[in-house]
């Protein structure tokens, strides 16, 4: 009987061990960078040693930094031609650029067509005005102003994306109109995230979670049991709670919201996502979250769907494969697309 008892106890002990230690002694590591894309980048991974994780985070930083420099519209980096160079040469001459810029702009053009113009990287002239008024109004709230509509309308004449001439053979970009400019804020971060994650995967980093300013990309799983990455979506109307937890593997989640980047004029908040129809901050929703495999597309869609009336956006999402959305209305109502529920279960 004693023998049987011991066998039983060891069986139970083994069971506890299996359930309690399923990360195979790998430790969780996290890293944050503040210097890229004017936002916070976070990466999370389970690794055997700190050195292993440090090597990974350095790799991720170095690669993402290349995209950061190329997609910058405010700064110049040595003799690298970036988006700012293209803007500075508007109306003058084509600029020879890295393939990373060509590919980004090709995706942006494709998404412009797909979303019926609800995301437009040629909107620089209008977005620049809002950017300047927002910065001035945040700095000195007493004198905060809304840009005059006439000024926005004038600028909106120079936003024709068809005048962004991409020559893939010569690897050049030319803005035909001297008064137009590119602003890749709605796609650059997401596209860069996607590319760096893919490259990291090819380098053998098979399981990690990356967030570049809320552009979340889950690669692989948390452990060898296939535990999915758990991504909480903040409730914009209740800081202490999440709307839901999405369980992801090889998928991206991106939220566009009106609650972080904004300024106030006479008690009314003006956020940073501009509706191309009204030239004013979009007023359909508080937040829109997109889940789809590709982070570049998720980034574009979160902005585009944020700028679409609900029925149009719902129809768009339901007809796009592998793509789900979550809408938070101004009256706090929440609507999920039909397949979103599949991500709310913590199993594959």
């Amino acid at each position: 009987m004693l023998k049987r008892c011991i066998a039983f106890i060891s069986a139970i002990a083994l069971l506890i061990n299996l359930t309690g230690c399923n990360t195979n002694n790998k430790k969780r590591y996290e890293a944050e960078f503040l210097s890229l894309f004017d936002t916070m980048t976070q990466i999370v991974a389970y690794a055997d040693t700190k050195e292993e994780f440090t090597r990974f985070s350095q790799y991720f930083y170095d690669e993402l930094n290349k995209y950061h420099k190329l997609y910058d519209i405010y700064n110049t980096y040595g003799d690298i031609n970036n988006i700012k160079t293209i803007n500075d040469s508007a109306g003058k001459e084509p600029v020879k650029v890295d393939k990373k810029i060509i590919d980004l702009l090709l995706l942006a053009k494709e998404m412009y067509i797909k979303t019926n113009g609800k995301i437009n990287v040629a909107y620089g002239s209008v977005l620049q005005i809002w950017h300047d008024y927002r910065e001035k109004g945040t700095d000195d709230p007493e004198s905060a102003e809304v840009p005059p509509l006439i000024m926005l309308q004038e600028a909106a004449q120079f936003t024709d994306i068809n005048k962004v001439i991409i020559d893939t053979e010569a690897s050049t970009v030319f803005l035909e109109d001297a008064k137009m400019s590119l602003d890749v804020g709605s796609v650059g971060k997401g596209y860069a995230t996607e590319q760096v994650c893919k490259m990291a995967e090819a380098e053998g980093y098979t399981d990690f979670l990356a967030s570049v300013g809320g552009n979340i990309r889950a690669v692989g799983t948390k452990d060898e049991n296939g535990t999915l990455w758990n991504v909480g979506v903040r409730d914009p109307d209740n800081e202490d709670d999440v709307l839901c937890n999405a369980h992801l593997s090889d998928a991206s989640l991106v939220t566009s919201g009106n609650y972080e980047r904004y300024y106030s004029v006479e008690g009314k908040n003006y956020h940073h996502i501009i509706d191309p129809n009204t030239l004013m901050p979009s007023e359909y929703f508080t937040a829109v979250t997109i889940i789809c495999p590709d982070s570049g597309i998720a980034d574009c869609l979160s902005t585009a769907i944020f700028n679409m009336p609900f029925d149009e956006g719902k129809a768009f999402i339901e007809s796009t494969p592998n793509t789900e959305a979550l809408w938070v209305f101004l009256d706090k109502q929440i609507v999920y697309s039909s397949g979103f529920i599949n991500f709310l279960q913590p199993s594959i």
Partner: protein, 130 residues
Amino acid sequence: MDSKFFKKTDLWIIAAILAVTLMIFGIYNLTSSNKPAKAEIYYESKLLKTIPLDTGEDLVFSTPQNEKVVFHLYSDGSIKFESSDCPDKVCVHSGRISMVGQSAACLPNKFILKIVRENNSKTSEADIIT
């Protein structure tokens, strides 16, 4: 009841072991998931301060690194960037955070505020909250 393979006492022992195991497992799970989280403040990528969130204190404070960046710990266990001299105020707009996986940052002033697990155990908490 007693057979060649099982004695009544065997069954009692097995049942007792099972009960104790379940109890220990339950307690372990409860304590590990209910363990209060803590907040960490980083400046220029270095950990400056670790703040327990379960003290019930209401505290407004800054750090010597930059006294214009002010933090507020609430008695309910949440914490936020109360104010900052940065141009965009995205840090302040991030609001109160309290859940593991949440974070806020003041880019111009190089501060990060994040909520972390008390230990390294894996729980059902979010890996990241956006």
